[in-house]
């Protein structure tokens, strides 16, 4: 497969890994932002191939993991009210306070698993006597398609469609992590697909304020080791700058058309991050002009703030303070079949990556 097989090449990857071993003299903590990168690192066995001095810290970039508990409860309540709820697949097994969307479906809820929110608009058109809600979660990556679904519904005059939005942004989360007094991160691998939408320039202020290298990185094995190499090279040379390893996808200016669509529907506002808490200006909220497509405004959904399971350390994991196998519940009471927190079930969750793929389990 073009653009995939070249980046899964044994010789090319080994060459970069050899270089990493050659240039590493100090201990470095590097955080990969995106959960897709975490899975790439663990699934390909890259963590064990890095020098011992290089420690990868897994970041908060798992959209499913950071979606607040009460929003999952709200989606479940909508299902129970008879609304057709449409969702991306990996959201449905995440535990709410009482049950998951999948369990609510088993009890009779009309839950549809979709690849594109545009399909949800079609479902709304086909079911004019029903309300249809798309559970619009994700980082900047999924925001354009979710925004587009609202524009699509407006254009087609579909009034029984709305979105339950929980869009969060990467740069404020990085800033919150760097401001944490326990933070030990020396460099970041930036989230390649987020930058494909937003471009690279919003990371320049972070690089300069915190004097920290950020290397925007892709997801294939060769991408990941190249990103790590570039970060270590900067660190070893005492430099800090923004670099773009993923230039085959990420342009400096991003995807202008996608950004325009986002800005038409959303504005920046305060968002709650599951496991982390409220971060000011860290997400998208629906603009006043499009409020009628906002499911939270449209439906009378009760807000019950339920505490997280006290044994789950998802918050510390998402902030990079602990690794999944440092959790006492990991693989014991907490498993994908019985998750205490979202990182164990999401396809981008760090706990799921360790549980499914990690060599650590062998020892």
């Amino acid at each position: 497969m073009k653009y995939l097989s070249e980046y899964r090449n044994l010789e090319a990857t080994k060459k970069v890994l050899d270089e990493i071993h050659k240039i590493t003299t100090c201990e470095w903590n590097i955080m990969e932002i995106c959960g897709g990168q975490t899975h790439g690192l663990v699934k390909n066995g890259i963590l064990e191939l890095l020098p011992e001095k290089v420690r990868m810290i897994h970041g908060p970039g798992c959209p499913v993991c950071v979606t607040p508990l009460n929003l999952i409860d709200k989606a479940i309540e909508l299902l129970e009210q008879g609304v057709i709820v449409c969702s991306f697949g990996d959201m449905i097994r995440v535990p709410g306070s009482k049950k998951s969307l999948l369990e609510a479906k088993a009890l009779g809820g009309d839950l549809r698993i979709l690849y594109s929110p545009i399909e949800a608009v079609s479902i709304a058109k086909q079911n004019p006597d029903k309300e249809v809600v798309f559970f619009a979660v994700g980082f900047e990556t999924t925001a354009p398609a979710n925004a587009l679904s609202v524009l699509h519904a407006e254009k087609e005059g579909v009034s029984n469609y709305s979105i339950l939005a929980s869009h969060v942004l990467v740069p404020p989360a990085m800033e919150a992590i760097l401001d944490d007094k326990f933070c030990t991160i020396n460099a970041f691998l930036g989230a390649g697909h987020v930058c494909a939408i937003m471009g690279t320039q919003e990371y320049v202020p972070l690089v300069n304020k915190y004097k920290i290298p950020i290397v925007i990185t892709g997801f294939e094995p060769l991408d990941l080791v190249q990103g790590i190499y570039l970060a270590i090279k900067q660190l070893e040379e005492g430099k800090y700058k923004l670099e773009n390893q993923y230039s085959r996808i990420v342009k400096t200016e991003g995807n202008i058309a996608a950004i325009n669509v986002i800005q038409k529907i959303f504005e920046i506002g305060t968002r709650e991050w599951r496991g982390i808490g409220e971060i000011p200006n860290s997400g998208y909220v629906i603009k006043e002009a499009y409020r009628k497509y906002d499911a939270e405004a449209k439906f009378n959904i009760s807000y019950i703030n339920v505490p997280e399971n006290a044994n789950c350390i998802a918050g510390e994991i998402l902030r990079g303070l602990k690794k999944p196998n440092q959790c006492e519940q990991f693989g014991k009471t907490c498993k994908p079949s019985n998750p205490l927190g979202a990182p164990m079930v999401s396809s981008e969750g760090a706990c799921a990556a360790y549980y499914h793929f990690s060599n650590n389990l062998i020892k």
Binding site: M1, K14, N44, G45, L47, V64, G138, P221, S347, N359
Partner: protein, 341 residues
Amino acid sequence: MDIENIGFETINLGHGSGGELTRNLLDKIIFKTFSNPFLDQKHDGSIVKIEGEIAISTDSFVITPIFFKGGNIGSLAVHGTVNDVAMCGAIPKYLSLAFIVEEGLKVSEFIKIVQSVKKAADESGVLIITGDTKVVERGKGDKIFINTTGFGAVHAKATISVNNIKEGDKILVNGFIAQHGMAIMSEREGLEFESTIESDSTNLNFLVTDLLDAFGDKIKLFRDPTRGGLGTVLHEIANDINKGIFIKEIYIPLEKQVAAACEMLGLDPMYVANEGVFLVIVDPSIEQEVLALMRNHKKGKNAALIGEFTNEHPNKVVMQSLIGGKRIVSPLVGEQLPRIC
């Protein structure tokens, strides 16, 4: 079969009542299609003779959509059970065939399914010797469900058992994985994407017989990784016998288009269902001969040696990735779900 002669266009509750309409359905479609000395008795059951040890396997088929590229629920219901009997080291001979039909199913669709059952049974060398047809109210089924039970004679040279597996035994697979699951996925409502991926659904019994004829007790185990895929089945075997399995990703046969579809949907081919794939665990002394025999058979053209058993990491399947790293292969939990991004 000419539908006009059948006299009805859709199946209704009356066709399952046991009365005249049922008889009509059976005579005009079932008995006409499957006519053989056992079934022609039109008795409540059949009396058959099978020499020696008998292998029996049953399976229910509830697939959606019922028609897909490379087959339909009818052919699948034959292949699935024929293969399960074959995996026991047996030669499948007879099948039972039970339909649960949701009222409203078009007779033309039912006939198409029945004809596929017939074709698949003929190709597999098995006879349909008994059966049942029930009709349920609309909304209480999903068009059609099929149950088949297969009966076969255990091959004289077969000593199939997980307990025969030793350290160093080799694991071979007969061809490309993940084709069936991706063919179904490409046609499932809401996920349709254009592809020419066909289900690999096929009967494996003749290749199994050839392997047993040639290698007898040097073959330790056959196993077909249907639901849960290759990854889940390997994990099950490792756990059953408290041994480790080491495989290499680069050796796993994966067709390009299937690989691309898995990438696009964010699915791991190791957990995607197969219906024409089987694993053969063999003594290391015959691995090359087994591979050669399989590659010369039309059901094993893309056969590959994918790994071996080890005492190093009991109960764990470890896979060397394309870039030389290692990871464990854990069993599938629930259904694989499409990802967010």
